[in-house]
């Protein structure tokens, strides 16, 4: 066979050796993904169709019972409980993402306008919380929101909570914890976009009589969209399945789909149902991403 020579970014080589090299480089990563992501995923799919035995063991009797249960058809007729939990999870993820985005823009503009010497100090301060474990960080909120501390006292003074009680568990505490958890995931990619912002476009918009809202929508948002997209996905997807923060800061009453799944694999010992909820969450997440991508490819942002 005649080998065809080609120049690959300055290197003289052949197609065959390129393919071989590609395989060498890719196989460890592919293998890892196969063993630890694709295979467990497939197992999960299979398990989601299995049934729970009387003592929590898996019975290899395949049916759609778990999915029927997730859709709300239980022993005592139809209930919206599980769907409510799923909807609440989507809602919490959406609000968390929206709050993180709303807080990230001013933060990123602030950091991008610091002189170069202090800019990286500010960025480091955004990242520092990551040096601590997530659970520990969540418990830190217990202290901050404790009854004796100013926040709870202020709330008591305003009559929001009764004196002497902490600010947790509450919806407010859940959002506080969630946003503080995910803010850097939005802020860092967004910062990368904002740092490279072409301010001449902002000036052009001003020159063309644009209002402040219009300047943001037409000159700033389109330019920061790449960073914003990454941030939104990095926040929304894990926020959908988050269970530590809502569990600790929301109390047992604030059930999200993440807690539900954890419960099935833990206390309830119903792996099959847990797997079915996981699959439901995964489908929902993929569907949201699909919607998001379609939307952000649209032309107009107004």
């Amino acid at each position: 066979m005649k080998t065809k020579l080609l120049v690959w970014y300055g290197e003289l080589t052949t197609t065959r050796s390129l393919v071989r090299r590609g395989l060498y480089f890719m196989s460890p990563g592919m293998l890892w993904l196969m063993v630890f992501l694709v295979l467990p995923g497939l197992v999960l799919i299979v398990v989601s169709f299995a049934s729970r035995g009387a003592y929590g063991e898996l019975l290899w009797e395949f049916n759609l019972e778990n999915y029927r249960r997730l859709a709300g058809f239980g022993l005592f007729g139809w209930t919206a409980d599980y769907l409510m939990i799923v909807w609440r999870s989507v809602w919490v993820a959406l609000v968390t993402t929206a709050l993180s985005v709303a807080l990230s823009y001013p933060l990123c503009f602030f950091i991008a306008h610091r002189p170069e010497r202090t800019r990286y100090l500010w960025l480091t301060m955004v990242i520092i919380p990551f040096w601590t474990n997530m659970v520990i960080r969540t418990y830190a909120w217990f202290l901050i929101l404790a009854p004796a501390l100013p926040f709870a006292r202020l709330a008591a003074l305003l009559g929001i909570v009764s004196p002497g009680s902490p600010l947790y568990p509450s919806v407010f505490a859940v959002y506080l914890g969630m946003v503080s958890m995910f803010l850097p995931f939005v802020a860092l990619p967004l910062y990368a976009s904002i740092e490279r912002l072409d301010w001449e476009l902002v000036e052009a918009a001003q020159d063309l009589y644009a209002s402040r809202v219009r300047v943001f929508m037409q000159a700033i948002l389109p330019q920061t969209l790449p960073g914003l997209s990454v941030g939104v996905i990095l926040t929304f997807v894990p926020a959908m399945g988050m269970f530590v923060v809502p569990d600790l800061l929301g109390g047992a009453k604030y059930m999200l789909v993440g807690n539900l799944i954890q419960q099935q694999f833990g206390a309830s010992r119903d792996w099959a149902f847990g797997a079915a909820i996981s699959m439901g969450l995964m489908v929902l997440t993929l569907f949201s991403l699909y919607l998001y991508r379609r939307r952000s490819r649209g032309e107009n942002f107004l």
């Binding site: 000036e203 020159d207 032309e299």
Partner: protein, 347 residues
Amino acid sequence: MASETNEGLRLQGMNKRFGKVHAVRDVSLEVPSGQFFTLLGPSGCGKTTLLRIIAGLEMPDEGRVLLGGREITNLPATRRQINTVFQSYALFPHLSVFENVAFGLRSRKFPQPEIEQRVNKRLEMLGLQAMARRRPDQLSGGQKQRVALARALVNEPDVLLLDEPMSALDARLRAQVQVELRRLQQKLGRTFILVTHDQDEAMVVSDRIAVMRDGAVVQSGTPEEVYDDPRTRFVAEFLGAANLIRGKAAGDGLQADIGFLHLEKTPPWDEGIVAIRPEWIRLHESQPAKNGIRGRVREVIFRGTDYDLWLDPGPLRVRSHTYKHFKPGDEIWLELAPQELVILDED
């Protein structure tokens, strides 16, 4: 409207500093309405800063901006009837050509039929109808520039500002666009203010030129005035080529290294510089009556339409249109006629 009066644009006592850099120094200018005015100078001379002050994108430290007799110094850019063509065009990449042009009208909430009518008229005027649906990244440099022009002109500004709009175009296109821009301005009768470092461009398009250096306007006038009668060495050298001859004032002329030169006027200094453009020096076979210099060709540079000869003594640069072919070493008489010698005010 106040801007309909012939007062045009006025800058009074303009000053702007960026830290230690004095970007604009005591600039006062008057641009009558309907004029094509050019701020010409090397990079960093403050011409763009001045333009940005007029646009409302920069606040002067001192001084006033008046448009049609009304002070607009403290008016934000969004409320000035002034539009800008930015150096990199600053087209909105996510919007079509049509929407880019319509941007200013949409900002001001014009009704849709009027937007369509006005945008289409501008697109047609600039030959962009076929591009209306395209995105900026699907356009060539020349097309982008015309979109930027249409986007500014569709708002019918009292003053159009152009910040080096041709620097991204290749030489041939630039020459063509310069003429088009000049014709467009004459057709519309609006005030255009152009910032450029290209003296050819300035001369082709302008009614008046203000030459800037280190933040100050050093000379202003019609292109002919500035070219034919530069007052300083800087202006003489910046606009076109110039031979600068240093010497001492003596009698009715100048005693220079290359010989005695008669002048039309007595210079205001004892020692100084006279300038003469390369194309103003005439070549003769025999000695001319006045101001003849015997020169020897050192170098010949072919420029297509003419030759540049570098001659000793000097070296003097002569632009020759003759068919005669010179070689290095040829000797020739040069006539630096008194009426062609410009006495500069200062070094």
